[in-house]
């Protein structure tokens, strides 16, 4: 069984939902990565991040990334990827990647491959807002047409 659940949402995302989504009696390893907005960055106090996203392409690339991450994996695996867009406050989770497999080595490897690929390839951008009234787009990774390389 290879179960993949992907969504981009503008509401809160839940670790409990992620845990439930990947639960399987055949899977002894459950890895959950939660990306959380930090309260301090660039020496400034952060009051929030506004996530911009190109939704149709982001959804397609997330699906491609998940499939590439398990391309040569012949065993049962569950993958749950959720990413927020819109305004997110410090302490809130902006992204959850949850992976369950029979054994931990595979769960860790697949989860990390997905997280790294998301950061390098998916059209999502952050505008950070600071307590002093300023704001800034955060630097990112330049994308190109070979966007699947990182997931492999």
């Amino acid at each position: 069984m290879q179960d993949i659940s992907i969504n981009l949402v503008d509401t809160e995302i839940s670790l409990l939902d992620a845990t439930a989504a990947i639960a399987s009696k055949d899977h002894g390893a459950n890895t959950i990565f939660s990306g959380t907005v930090r309260q301090h960055n660039r020496g400034k106090e952060v009051i929030g991040i506004d996530y911009d996203v190109y939704l149709p392409l982001a959804k397609t690339l997330l699906e491609d990334i998940a499939k590439k991450a398990i391309k040569d994996f012949k065993h049962s695996v569950s993958i749950y990827i959720y990413h927020l867009y819109g305004k997110v406050k410090p302490g809130q989770s902006s992204m959850i990647v949850a992976v369950s497999t029979a054994h931990r080595v595979d769960a860790y490897r697949i989860n990390r491959a997905i997280v790294e690929a998301i950061k390098h390839q998916v059209p999502i951008w952050k505008k950070e807002y600071y307590l002093d009234g300023s704001c800034a787009w955060l630097e990112g990774c330049q994308v190109n047409s070979n966007v699947h390389a990182h997931a492999e």
């Binding site: 392409l57 999502i124 951008w125 787009w137 990774c141 994308v143």
Partner: protein, 87 residues
């Protein structure tokens, strides 16, 4: 040919719009399309900074990132993607 440009992230500030029509002679490559955008940039911006942002942007449709030599020869909605930073 009707080309619609969608802007995101920092690149949106180059045009001060989320979407704009771009009239160009076709066919042209994705690289040529990106180079042509420079004349559409809002004039209040620092031109060197604008050029620096444009130079690191990718061109995409709703379903794929386009290679520089991709030939645009029909009506398309094209997205201008600055460097990404999800997570």
């Amino acid at each position: 040919m009707k080309l619609t440009l969608k802007t995101f992230g920092q690149a949106r500030e180059l045009f001060e719009q989320t979407e704009l029509a771009v009239n160009l002679d076709t066919p042209l490559t994705a690289r040529q399309f990106k180079q042509s955008l420079f004349e559409h940039i809002t004039p209040i911006l620092n031109r060197d900074k604008a050029q620096a942002i444009l130079s690191v942007c990718a061109i995409a449709t709703e379903s794929e990132i386009l290679a520089d030599d991709f030939v645009i020869d029909k009506d398309l909605s094209i997205a201008l993607l600055p460097p990404v930073c999800g997570g």
